[in-house]
């Protein structure tokens, strides 16, 4: 443990030394002012910003490459198809998938989870079956399963968390029985930042023969992912949280599972042949990509992946951890401020509450200092209930944030307290 810590620290220092300034300069939006104050963007868990390389790619695509894919033999269509499929391969390599056909482009994490709910859940889950979730889930990994449970007469079981915001793995294990059919877990909590021990949890599910979907929306931007090492059955994430554009994300699924599933949406591109008597579905991944996909966004996603890999996910994780440690230590020194979900194994997310001040007031006042944080329940109301708060303020960091920005946040929190102490 100590050695790992030491390594993390030294590589983080290196990253700092290598110049986070250089990466920051790649993000034009970070130069804007909010009412004369420099923008301090700490809402990366909601959506991160795009580097110039991704913006350039989107512009280039619209100006010189745009056409529909898979449909025509002309120059532009060929080009767009090649670029789109190249992006799929980049995603495949990024997550260490065995084959590119295991990567399906979706409109984002929510869409990916719904695809699995419809394609797998509605086919294989029946009356009386059980689905296990954790208490840390985002609404998008709760609601689809509730809809399925309602439709099928299935039941949702919830693995509890402790006061630090960690899933209790022993309790999780106890939930399994002969009726357990599916497990859906977040890799990283968006509200608290806790990193779940998903590898262990997947192994436990597999001992019971149960497939697992991992919601990786908050993990993929910050941690090196290898789906084969995790041995997850499905893995979902969105481009817009990892330097890519909105409107696109992926679902990874093991090929044999994807093949066994029914299509989610019907339409063009997802078919092999259509007559009014019978339609034969296309092969994976196309079976799940009905209609014209977000082509430009998918290609831009590929460039975002190139960009992240160029910096290196390990270097990103190390530097962001340094930011987390610094921010947490500073925020802890402020009387009347409490960090919600303060476990050691976290990505750089800090959810906090200030005594006697509602998070929405905190957010509005911080905004006047140029600081962008998220306030509210973070689409994770069960977590808010667990900690007995209606809402929190959340600062979520990216590798382009700096310690100076954390100082501005901390000064901002103190001045919010001053306003309310008047």
């Amino acid at each position: 443990m100590k050695i790992v810590d030491a390594l993390v620290t030294s590589s983080a220092q290196q990253t700092t030394a290598l110049g986070i300034e250089r990466f920051r300069a790649d993000f034009p939006i970070l130069d804007i002012k909010v009412d004369d104050k420099p923008l301090v963007y700490l809402d990366n868990a909601a959506s991160s910003q795009m580097p110039q390389a991704v913006i350039d790619c989107l512009v280039r695509y619209q100006k010189t490459q745009h056409a529909n894919i898979h449909r025509a033999v002309h120059y532009l269509s060929n080009l767009a198809t090649q670029e789109y499929e190249a992006a799929r391969c980049k995603l495949q390599n990024f997550i260490g998938a065995r084959e590119d056909r295991e990567v399906i482009f979706t409109s984002g994490t929510t869409d990916s989870i719904n695809l699995v709910m419809h394609g797998y859940g509605r086919k294989f889950i029946q009356d009386g079956d059980e689905i296990i979730l954790s208490e840390l889930e985002h609404h998008s990994n709760i609601v689809p399963w509730q809809m399925l449970a309602e439709e099928k007469g299935a039941h949702i079981r919830v693995a509890p968390i402790n006061d630090a915001g960690e899933v209790l793995v022993e309790e999780y294990e106890k939930l399994f029985n002969s009726r357990t059919r599916f497990v859906a877990l977040s890799h990283v909590s968006n509200a608290l930042g806790s990193i779940n021990p998903v590898k262990r949890m997947i192994a436990i599910a597999h001992q019971h023969g149960v497939p697992v979907l991992i919601d990786g929306a908050q993990a993929a931007p910050h941690l090196k992912i290898n789906v084969q090492d995790l041995d997850c059955d499905f893995y979902a994430f969105s481009a817009h949280k990892m330097c890519g554009p909105t409107g696109v994300g992926i679902l990874y699924g093991k090929a044999h599972l994807l093949e066994s599933m029914q299509p989610f949406k019907g339409g063009g591109d997802m078919i092999a042949s259509v007559s009014f008597e019978k339609t034969i579905y296309n092969e994976i991944p196309y079976k799940f990509e009905a209609g014209t996909p977000p082509i430009a966004a998918a290609i831009g996603f590929g460039v975002a992946i190139d960009y992240l890999e160029q910096i290196g996910l390990d270097a990103i994780a190390a530097y962001e951890h340094e930011l987390l440690v610094y921010a947490a230590s500073q925020i802890r020194t402020i009387p009347g401020v409490k960090i919600v979900g303060d476990c050691p194994n976290k990505v750089a997310v800090i959810s906090f509450v200030i005594d006697g001040i509602h998070p929405h007031d905190v957010g509005t006042l911080l905004n006047q200092e140029g600081v962008a944080v998220r306030t509210g329940h973070h689409c994770a109301q069960p977590i808010m209930q667990r900690f007995n708060v209606a809402a929190t303020s959340r600062a979520s960091f990216s590798f382009y944030n700096t310690k100076e920005e954390i100082d501005i946040l901390v000064a901002g929190i103190r001045s919010v307290q001053k306003v309310f102490a008047q």
Binding site: P359, H360, T364, Q368, A390, A391, V419, F420
Partner: protein, 160 residues
Amino acid sequence: MNLKSIYQEVILDHNRKPRNYGSLDCPTHHATGHNPLCGDRIDLDINMLDGHIEEIAFRGESCAICKASSSMMTSAVKGRSRQEAEALIREFREMLVSKEDNNDLDHLGRLKVLAGVRDLPTRVKCAILPWHTLHAAINSTGEATTEADDHSNKLVANNH
């Protein structure tokens, strides 16, 4: 903090010392207001006598803007007729949603200090919630939400 800040003395004062805070013993009218987006929740009790708001009290968990708006609203409508209260609800809403900056707000009296919320689109709901709730209470619909309609600024109450 700059001068444009909505967090002026009056609002902070109402937040710290809300007027008419608490509950009534046997209210003739009651409604609960809820903003599911931020978790704000207020309960409003009213005693109506001869079509007038005789007594009014609110309680709940909310941000400073919602609490100040509730506090100021209860002071403003106490003793008023149902029609007068409905008119004030409309005018208050107008103030927060109107696009024009320089319309005359004098008829709103102290409520004017909440006009600044207009520039904070995501906070308009916080200021309007108590007014939705008042509308629901005096029309005996029982429940109000900021999310009952796609146009957040319309006054629509959930009919339960």
